[in-house]
Symmetry: D3
Amino acid sequence: MFLLIIFTLSFLFSSYNALDFCVGDLSAPQGPAGYSCKKTEEVTVKDFVFSGLRVAGNTSNHSKVTITPAFSTQFPGVNGLGISVARVDFSVDGRGLMHTHPEATEVLIVIQGTLCAGFISSTNKVYLTSLHEGDVMVFPQGLMHFLINVGKSSALAFASYSSTSPGIYFMDYAWFANDMSTDILQKTTFLDHDQIKKLKGVLGGTN
Amino acid sequence: MFLLIIFTLSFLFSSYNALDFCVGDLSAPQGPAGYSCKKTEEVTVKDFVFSGLRVAGNTSNHSKVTITPAFSTQFPGVNGLGISVARVDFSVDGRGLMHTHPEATEVLIVIQGTLCAGFISSTNKVYLTSLHEGDVMVFPQGLMHFLINVGKSSALAFASYSSTSPGIYFMDYAWFANDMSTDILQKTTFLDHDQIKKLKGVLGGTN
Amino acid sequence: MFLLIIFTLSFLFSSYNALDFCVGDLSAPQGPAGYSCKKTEEVTVKDFVFSGLRVAGNTSNHSKVTITPAFSTQFPGVNGLGISVARVDFSVDGRGLMHTHPEATEVLIVIQGTLCAGFISSTNKVYLTSLHEGDVMVFPQGLMHFLINVGKSSALAFASYSSTSPGIYFMDYAWFANDMSTDILQKTTFLDHDQIKKLKGVLGGTN
Amino acid sequence: MFLLIIFTLSFLFSSYNALDFCVGDLSAPQGPAGYSCKKTEEVTVKDFVFSGLRVAGNTSNHSKVTITPAFSTQFPGVNGLGISVARVDFSVDGRGLMHTHPEATEVLIVIQGTLCAGFISSTNKVYLTSLHEGDVMVFPQGLMHFLINVGKSSALAFASYSSTSPGIYFMDYAWFANDMSTDILQKTTFLDHDQIKKLKGVLGGTN
Amino acid sequence: MFLLIIFTLSFLFSSYNALDFCVGDLSAPQGPAGYSCKKTEEVTVKDFVFSGLRVAGNTSNHSKVTITPAFSTQFPGVNGLGISVARVDFSVDGRGLMHTHPEATEVLIVIQGTLCAGFISSTNKVYLTSLHEGDVMVFPQGLMHFLINVGKSSALAFASYSSTSPGIYFMDYAWFANDMSTDILQKTTFLDHDQIKKLKGVLGGTN
Amino acid sequence: MFLLIIFTLSFLFSSYNALDFCVGDLSAPQGPAGYSCKKTEEVTVKDFVFSGLRVAGNTSNHSKVTITPAFSTQFPGVNGLGISVARVDFSVDGRGLMHTHPEATEVLIVIQGTLCAGFISSTNKVYLTSLHEGDVMVFPQGLMHFLINVGKSSALAFASYSSTSPGIYFMDYAWFANDMSTDILQKTTFLDHDQIKKLKGVLGGTN
């Protein structure tokens, strides 16, 4: 009888082919819902693990902060599953510049250090606070937020997002680090001409 | 036999109570999916029509542009249906300042005039163009966009959104028209102290 | 230091590859969520603009109304973004025949003219009204609606939909403009045999 | 040690309060996502079972078919869970009249009898077939479909829907069983005046 | 004039290309939302009908129950439409073993026989009942449930699911019918070593 | 002119009332999409921060692991935003017992220690690995997974979930820690009578 059970099972399960997961095949077509799925028989446990967040990102940059993403492009195992994460490293005085995630809500988990954190609602209200080790804070989808290391040593946080491709969208870079015309920027923000020109210089923008 | 048909129908349809629509009851609890539904027997055709976009908005303001929303708060008939609209009026030289809709994609329909329009992707690329009467342009969810009336007369457009509560989120107002601290703004943007102070003065901000 | 900033940025942003948008590639596989995405590096601002609604549709047809769609097939820039639009032109006496959008709610924006508009709920209630320039009306998903130009001149409206592929589904054409058997139509509607035969003749149907 | 385990569990699980289900409370506010949830402590297994489909519906009506729904209004246990069912009884010659479900796809399961079944796509193509005991057929969301008992005895089918409130939307009743004006119907369909008047008489409509 | 109507229609409808359905092409890429769509011109009514549930499944197995699925892999017509079904056959004393559907809520329709049915919530409460012919019961997404034929003859039920790929996930098989290490099972369940070893023997597991 | 700007803004923004967030009001009706929203004017930054994960959970229990949730019930700021988190503490030899989250995918972030981790797919394949500090692993929705502290000291991880109410569903507790009948368990699992009775004793179950 045991043989019968086993036989029936093999037959049974081969025909189900459930879509438990859809590990992204980065070389196949991508659609609005994400990457195409890697064939299930080629999927291994390695697809579900990402080790790229083990080491601190290099914070030798202007803002002394680095965000290291584990989105579906870096970590195809989350493709189609509606969630992703990132590591955020802060040197002393590190500042996570004003940014949004156009496609996701973020929950930040503070692992080490003390942060000043805030976001601004679409009715222009500022929600500002201090975060300590073990605190979590939510930044609702699409709203500008920022983080400042206000402690005396480096800080570390992990962020999780309600999308596998949340985007990281820095306002300064979007305005000053490309070929956006100074004239248009002047007309569509309240910023002064000289300020725009100066920041285009700093961030490598043109026009 | 006709009587029988009619009788059966009455019985039949009273029991279905389909959720064809959910006109918002602004005085009842609101949840993540929108307002509570007005009772179906109290719903009339007036709930599905909004006349608040008939007349041009007042453009006697600094940017010479006014956005008049027909979101679920103004137009409860769209509650729960995933779509809303707004009217956008431009005086000569009117400028739709840099903004996002945190919760929605926008499709703009140009009714009158010539606009310079653009948006910036989260990889900082600028997509810039001119729009003429009858043109439609899509601004993907959460991305900063702007519009400038570059014609010689006033302009008019209608915008539709993939949400009943898209939000209208102006970067300048979010930064300068509230109590956001100048110190934090300076640390989390590349803006200069004097620029920030000046714009807080212009837009009524403090701190 | 400026060089360092720029270097860091290049590194930073090339690795994000956010799915801000998914311009439809009409030659690649299509899935339940829409068309496959065009490669980001091949996307230009032209993909986000559609000029096919600039001119009035030809209304020299029986109903004196033409709907010109800007759905994802005509306007691949909206692919995956949950919204699309159409232009609706009415000659004098033009009638937008009874139809549904199986996949979308519609919001109609009246640009010019006076329309009689209505829809019928699934509990068979008729919601009927007059619309004037600037009025907007919502037709909930899947419900039959109609529009009649009751003004003295031509009329113009734009419709936006809560789907990139809403469908336009005319009841008459679905019944009479194909090979649907007269016998089945007679059995599954209350229509008379002669009426069915006549309308099949008018609309080019067979059987 | 066993006591400790049990104590820990009580503590553990009381704090989770998972939203496994949301049995509809028909007397509390209803929102776009469905009814408010009955308190979990008042939910019993009876909320998850519906016995109203045990007996055949009365088919002594004109079309000799009755659809008995188990939607969220009749069967609040499915509220919020995205699925519902109905029982469909056919007498000899019974005809499931042309209808749509504005909010759902249907899968029909034939339990007894032989049916002629079909649907019409939004490109006006007819998909027509015969169904036998044990066959299942899918009717995509919002498309008109119909069923005819073509066997020699009564027939029985169950339908399942991809919504808890799919709606049942008969075209004839929507047109003729209410106060819809004959004039408007004539203008927005191809139907003749006499046909409309006759069917309003049959189905109890006015105007 | 009739010719004109027909001409206009041909032009009209060819350009819509609505996504009414997306019959799965099992040989093309699969994404998180399902299979790629078969070309509309190759779709026939056969794609929307599945006859594989006509005959009873073979219940000559240990549990005397067989579930025959009509998921998107077996029945590509439901691809993208959010619903699927299965047939469940019970011999006398047949037992539908403890299982979940990781991706779907199930509604069970009892066609013949008497079943003991139950599910367990994530707060560990058991919801247990008897089901008779015509009863329907809902098993909320992801919760373990079971069915026992407690009548004197064979039983038959149909299940519908709120997903086209619900998965069928038997706890016993997941634990004992593969290479899962006995040591790990012992550490992560309360089961005894001998019990695990015995059941691995029964179900063909190793390690 | 500055006064004018400010005046216009006040008028503008008071009328938008965007649904940027929906902080849960735990005393108001709950629907399928989550809790009702707290009034925006009563929301403060405290609603968006949760400090309950600062300290390690008490691991003096049988499995030497405690999961401390920050779901919408504990942390109402995430209500409606599709994401939540939890803290997982492991003593030496701590074991996260076999469980699922019926409503969510999980991404685990290892902060300290070395874990053996795995999950089982619905085709019964085991995906097993070792995780080190900084590794992240994804457990797809509804699939059983487990974690064992295989290092020499305590371990710490944070989990994020693609739902605000993911549920934590331990198989052992669902089977043995309630009034589930031994007879039914025996019939619907492969477990032996004595094993069931013993574990009911251990976990406080009856019947």
